[in-house]
């Protein structure tokens, strides 16, 4: 732990005395303190509002079921609530843990301190059965309302085959449907104001403008939006639960599918987190390969956003053109990784294979080709009158609001706040690259769009530097936990073969500990918080995705606009439902 970490911990100890139970060293070196449940609200309020250089953002809120754990840190805790706060002034995180030792765990809700805690607390309630006192709408958020049990508890089965065959008799179907019926009273929404009745409209779950299975219930006064209630969870696949079932190595393909437009951008934080836990150093070549692939995927993801955003606003052509360019990118990705959208290509300790012969030419061709296209899109989309009319001044928010609600990525930079984790907390060698952070001023739909367009240009710069300076050397580390070990070394004699067998069957054993690693992904800051119990699989896999808080923020920025504006707002937020629901 560094001195500043100790400072903040001793400051908290001085201020709150007994309420601070202990400090815990972690592999990510974030200051981590355990706080007594009775005082959590005070401590968080202090960290947010009173301390100098405050922790303004509630970055993540989750829980851990400790009941099956061997290497416990707090002996009596059955469920631990974990708050992760981010301070922009300090450029650092702080992790606050609250032990709950009762069988009916309950803790004070912090929705009064951070409104963004609302969905996070609902998720913890849904997944772990923890009650939050004082929460305005404590109900399930990802699982269907009729679900029995809380999936992330250790006693909940992880496989469908453990739960008996699925059946949907008529009465159950009725019950499910009844559960989905929207009852405005339950959400505290009134059915009418003084002179008019409101209309409640379902947008989705099947609607082209929602870009996936998302249901938004709109409270409408004529055409203008009074309130929006998002209903998420239709895309929930239990990615976090699967993380506890798979080995460290065989979970990598699952990460691909969390934010399916980002490809390797999902492997990235996961493998870096495992590497941090295991203490693996990555060879330079692997680092640069990882960066190059990630930036290719950033462009690819932004192209999907670009085309579909324009289409949301009534332009048919751009989407065909951007998808054509994306296809070119997929050509490169396929040549390197062997697949297109789900490359599954980063490995613990490096990447799966070396770059193929001729990769330079493919990348160079793309670098020559793409800027022209970007210019054409600028003319066609960004400088189009109708496009501007529909995006400028729509869905505006300020930097303070963005931070309050946990917004990261282009949505934050569009408000004029220069914050990019590639620059501020560089990982994998980003500090050695030259690129700018595009920022805009107004935080409206248009600004979010220009920021993303400029980001594509910056990504091209980074890729160019990768191309010019690709280091020689191995593409995988020779650390024993590298999975699978380099094949050259494996089939020499019986010893190395046994090593290969162990490594491929159970995979590496990762020492007990916990770490969080995040990357500046395509949609915002995406991070994995892994807890190892000293075994061949993760004890708890928490995936902090950017789209989740962004979706929670949508109602706040849509009130007062019309339905057509809402579609512009949704498009400009750039989320993926698989990233919201995991």
């Amino acid at each position: 732990m560094t001195t500043t970490d100790n400072d903040i911990i001793s400051e908290l100890k001085n201020k709150f005395g007994e309420a601070i139970l202990m400090a815990q060293p972690t592999k990510d070196e974030f200051p981590t303190v355990w706080v007594d449940a009775a005082h959590i609200a005070e401590v968080l309020k202090y960290l947010k509002n009173e301390i100098s250089r405050p922790y303004k953002m509630l970055y993540d809120l989750t829980a851990i079921d400790e009941q099956a754990k061997v290497h416990k840190v707090h002996q009596d805790s059955k469920f631990t609530i974990v708050y992760l706060l981010l301070s922009f002034d300090r450029n650092n995180f702080i992790r606050i843990k609250v032990p709950l030792s009762s069988d009916k765990p309950s803790v004070t809700s912090i929705t009064k301190i951070w409104p963004a805690a609302n969905w996070y607390e609902r998720e913890v309630y849904d997944m772990f059965g923890v009650n939050f006192e004082g929460h305005p709408h404590l109900r399930r958020i990802l699982m269907p309302g009729t679900w029995k049990g809380h999936p992330l508890q250790k006693c909940h089965p992880a496989r469908a085959t453990e739960m008996g065959p699925f059946q949907l008799p008529e009465d159950k179907q009725d019950e499910e449907q009844d559960m989905l019926k929207f009852k405005p009273e339950e959400w505290g929404l009134s059915k009418s104001n003084n002179d008019e009745e409101f209309m409640f409209l379902n947008l989705g779950p099947q609607h082209p403008g929602t870009h996936g299975v998302l249901r938004l219930v709109l409270q409408l006064d004529g055409e203008s939006i009074v309130n929006v209630v998002p209903d998420i969870g239709f895309h929930h696949r239990g990615a976090e639960k699967m993380g506890e079932r798979q080995s460290w190595h065989t979970y990598i393909p699952y990460t691909d599918r969390v934010e399916y437009l980002g490809g390797v951008m999902n492997n990235f934080p996961y493998v870096m987190c495992v590497e941090k836990l295991a203490g693996i150093q990555i060879p330079d070549r692997a680092k640069v390969i990882r960066i190059m692939l990630s930036e290719l995927f950033r462009i690819s993801s932004h192209l999907v956003w670009y085309g579909t955003f324009a289409q949301d606003l009534g332009m048919m052509t751009p989407v065909f053109l951007t998808f054509y360019d994306r296809e070119k990118l997929f050509g490169i990705v396929e040549a390197i990784t062997g697949d297109r959208m789900h490359p599954n290509w980063f490995r613990i300790g490096g990447v799966a294979q070396d770059l193929p012969n001729g990769w330079e030419k493919m990348v160079k061709d793309f670098l020559d080709y793409f800027p022209k296209r970007l210019k054409e899109y600028d003319k066609m989309v960004m400088r189009n009158n109708i496009f501007k009319a529909r995006t400028v001044g729509i869905g505006v928010y300020t930097t303070e609001e963005a931070i309050e609600w946990g917004v990261t990525g282009a949505g934050l930079r569009a408000t004029g706040f220069e914050w990019d984790f590639r620059k501020k907390q560089p990982y994998s060698g980003y500090e050695q690259f030259e690129f700018d952070i595009p920022t805009a001023q107004n935080g409206d739909c248009y600004d979010r769009a220009v920021v993303r367009v400029e980001e594509m240009r910056q990504s091209l710069r980074i890729i160019k530097q990768c191309l010019d300076n690709m280091p020689e050397g191995p593409y995988k580390s020779d650390h024993p936990a590298t999975t699978p070990p380099i094949k050259k070394y494996t089939m020499i004699h019986i010893e190395t073969l046994i090593n290969h067998f162990l490594n491929v069957t159970w995979g590496p054993v990762i020492p007990a500990g916990e770490a969080f690693v995040g990357v500046e992904a395509t949609k915002g800051h995406n991070g994995y918080y892994l807890t190892s119990d000293g075994s061949t699989g993760s004890y708890r896999t928490r995936i902090r995705t950017p789209s989740f808080p962004h979706m929670q923020f949508v109602p706040e920025i849509s009130k007062g606009y019309t339905i057509a504006d809402l579609l512009a707002i949704l498009g400009s937020v750039d989320y993926v439902l698989s990233d919201v629901d995991r």
Partner: protein, 184 residues
């Protein structure tokens, strides 16, 4: 290298009056569309035409033979445990005297099945195999009428014998040797 730690303000300059004209915008869009009519088509006529795949493409599996036409697989089961989707099942058998021409090792896979509906084509089986006995080829899953049809048996995946059918063997192998060398 000089690093720029600066933020870049994106371009927000107002539009010129020409750009603000409504019909000009419509016309401009039309012109762009029109121009693309004369460009090379981006699509191909599948299934008459097929696109080429990269040599490392992860398509349907092939069970490999060695130069003498013997099956390489020794039914060690590594592919099955490495498979995240649990798509592979196999039954091992012992090679009998006289079968040396058929199987390379003393133990072989009597039954080997992959459920292509479960498979996510991640390629971890190929990475796990210590015998170069399985690899993913440059084809992708065809359609089928029944779920059963997607459970590929050993015969569906075994590569043709290089001694008896050299032509088809070559074709099935594709550009794979290059990839395997790259993999080592």
């Amino acid at each position: 290298m000089q690093l720029t730690q600066r933020a870049k303000h994106v371009d927000r300059h107002p539009m010129t009056w020409i750009e603000r004209l409504y019909f000009w915008n419509i016309l401009k869009g039309m012109l762009i569309t029109l121009r693309h009519l004369f460009k090379r088509k981006a699509t191909i006529n599948f299934p008459e035409q097929k696109r080429s795949f990269s040599s490392v493409f992860r398509g349907l599996h092939v069970l490999n033979r060695d130069e003498e036409g013997r099956e390489r697989c020794t039914a060690c089961g590594l592919c099955a445990v490495a498979c995240p989707a649990e798509a592979i099942t196999m039954e091992a058998a012992e090679r009998l005297p006289g079968e040396e021409q058929l199987y390379r090792e003393e133990k072989y896979a009597a039954k080997y099945e992959i459920n292509m509906l479960r498979c996510i084509f991640c390629g971890l089986c190929e990475e796990a195999c210590p015998k170069d006995a399985i690899y993913l080829s440059q084809t992708f899953a065809p359609s089928n009428y029944s779920r059963k049809g997607f459970i590929y048996k050993k015969d569906d995946m075994l590569i043709p014998n290089p001694l008896t059918e050299p032509e088809t063997y070559k074709k099935a192998l594709g550009e794979r040797p290059a990839k395997m060398i790259g993999n080592q």
